[in-house]
């Protein structure tokens, strides 16, 4: 009997189901879910700790989603082997599933380096899944001193989520600034200030060299006592299933614009996949929810025999801490030939537009973020800047800077 199989049960898997069902309403879909829960909004785990959402509201889709869409979900299982020749996947419980088309949406796993003495730490966690948030909810009390290793997005959202639950929060990172992979020095300093105003302490250009029970001995020699340790150093795409079957891997599973891997009949989507980032012109893992959704849907349509391309992926990050928002998209290519930066900055707001030749390739907005999507659309659609009033647009994102013809299409007809 014909069936589709999806490995994973996150955002990409859900939108893969929706993509399949937009073409094929009948063929059964089997979903292999390592986690024991229906798909939930993964980026909300810090908001859960903060009390801004709850388990019920975190559901990504209505309760009857799987039933309505003819999906069987196998909870608590993983795929351990893929046979492309036989078109089968073997699961962790020994069961074998045959597929007509397969989508690998296995996400990523926190990277935990072998820091000496880590085994002596009683309460240590990573922060990626709902179970991590539930465990931290139990572990952290008003007397807890929390040490977070890693000042990237995951570590800082964890710090924000725990800020009213813990006695103290210290965040360390080997980088000299927070969010070093997303923000430059000036932007990072502004975000750090807001976090510090809410009691979060930073140790930058320094990290835990070893642990001794409830003490971290830093590279600088400083000793940090703590009760709860969170390791937020980074994540790695889960590529093993495809790699071990001979599929092409870089950092993630390489996919084309139709989300096909190098293996016939096998697609990949979400945080495990690596596709073209048109803002920098090379392939990248874009581990953000919008990308997972768009990739998953595209994979689903193609798995079901439709034709869909997703060929304008770019990085898009909405970052916010304690009410201060930073929105960024695309890439900074200003150091390349033809590159330039337009910048406006005062004490409250910051705007950087990254230009190259006749295109906007990226931007960063802190504070005043209104209508940022107009800038994002210029990057995604690679609109030549000479076709619009860029002097107006650089001051404020407005569709009034577009040509009359473009405006007529946007506001005078269905889009």
């Amino acid at each position: 009997m014909k069936q589709y199989v999806i490995i994973g049960n996150g955002t990409a898997a859900v939108s893969c189901v929706e993509g399949i069902r937009s073409i094929d309403e009948k063929t059964p879909i089997t979903i292999v879910s390592e986690e024991l829960y229906p798909a939930y909004c993964r980026p909300l785990i810090s908001y859960y700790l903060e009390g801004k959402t709850d388990r019920n509201r975190m559901q990504y889709r209505p309760d009857d989603f799987y039933e309505t869409n003819g999906c069987t979900v196998l909870y608590g299982k993983t795929a351990v082997h893929l046979s492309v020749r036989q078109k089968t996947v073997t699961l962790s419980d020994g069961q074998t599933l045959s597929y007509d088309a397969l989508c690998v949406a296995t996400g990523s796993t926190p990277f935990v380096p072998p820091i000496p003495g880590l085994e002596t730490v009683a309460k240590k966690y990573t922060f990626l899944k709902l179970d991590d948030a539930l465990a931290l909810e139990q572990a952290v009390t008003p007397d807890s001193r929390v040490l977070i290793v890693g000042a990237g997005l995951i570590g800082l959202k964890c710090a924000e989520g725990l800020s009213t639950r813990a006695k103290s929060i210290t965040v360390c990172d080997l980088a000299d600034r927070v969010l070093s992979s997303i923000l430059d020095n000036a932007c990072a300093a502004r975000m750090q200030t807001v976090l510090e105003q809410h009691g979060i302490r930073f140790l930058l250009s320094d990290t835990a060299a070893r642990f001794d029970g409830n003490t971290a001995i830093m590279q600088s020699g400083e000793q940090i006592p703590f009760d709860v340790l969170v390791l937020a150093i980074g994540v790695r795409p889960n590529t093993a299933l495809v790699r071990e079957s001979g599929g092409k891997i870089n950092r993630g599973i390489l996919v084309d614009a139709q989300m096909r891997t190098s293996l016939p009949g096998v697609y990949a989507a979400g945080d495990c996949a690596e596709g073209m980032d048109i803002s920098c012109g090379s392939s990248r893992v874009l581990a953000v929810l919008p990308n997972a959704n768009l990739q998953g849907f595209c994979a689903g349509v193609n798995m079901a025999g439709g034709t869909k391309v997703f060929d304008n992926a770019i990085p898009m990050n909405a970052i916010g801490f304690f009410g201060l928002h930073a929105l960024s998209a695309g890439s900074d290519r200003s150091d390349e030939p033809g590159g330039a930066v337009y910048e406006e900055s005062d004490g409250q707001h910051l705007k950087r537009l990254f230009l190259k030749d006749d295109n906007l390739t990226g931007f960063m907005l802190i504070g005043d973020t209104a209508r940022a999507g107009i800038y994002t659309s210029l990057i995604r659609r690679q609109i030549p800047l000479h076709t619009l009033d860029f002097d107006r647009l650089k001051q404020t994102p407005t569709t009034a800077a577009f040509s009359k013809e473009t405006r007529k299409k946007a506001f005078g007809g269905a889009v």
Partner: protein
């Protein structure tokens, strides 16, 4: 489906649509009580350029990037109308980051709000259309402009 369309040649830039929108969504019976002396958070706004102005509200896109990008599953499509479930929204602004029209903005509490065509409020039909003195905003069935 019926959507809101604007004709920039007829827009006077009077901003009445912004007031009518904020009033229709205020839940108040009296316009003065709803708006007087308060900051305005309309779901439509006037864009102004060189000698042109026009109103912008949600286009209710057929392939809505905001819905696909929402990290909280708060933006949904119901019968072609894009709505926001404010109880789910965490105010992350991802939708602001992706909307090509600049049509979404947070309310006074940082929760997203957007044009839902006045289908759920007391107006029952788009208040911006009803109150536009020059018929620069209309609510009707159209296909794409090619």
């Amino acid at each position: 489906m019926k959507r809101i369309y604007v004709n920039e040649d007829w827009c006077l830039g009077c901003h009445l649509c912004e007031y009518n929108c904020a009033f229709a969504n205020s839940g108040e019976a009296d316009m003065a009580a709803a708006l007087k002396g308060k900051p305005l958070f309309p779901r439509i706004h006037i864009e102004e350029g060189d000698k042109i102005c026009y109103a912008v509200s949600c286009r209710h896109c057929e392939d809505p990037l905001c819905v696909k990008s929402c990290i909280a599953g708060a933006l949904q499509v119901k019968d072609g109308v894009i709505t926001v479930d404010q109880s789910r929204c965490v105010g992350c602004l991802t939708c602001v980051l992706v909307c090509p029209y600049g049509a979404l903005a947070p309310n006074e509490n940082g929760v997203m709000q957007k044009c839902e065509l006045c289908l759920q409020n007391s107006c029952g039909e788009p208040a911006c259309v009803k109150g536009c003195p020059n018929r620069a905003i209309v609510f009707e069935e159209r296909s794409a402009v090619l």
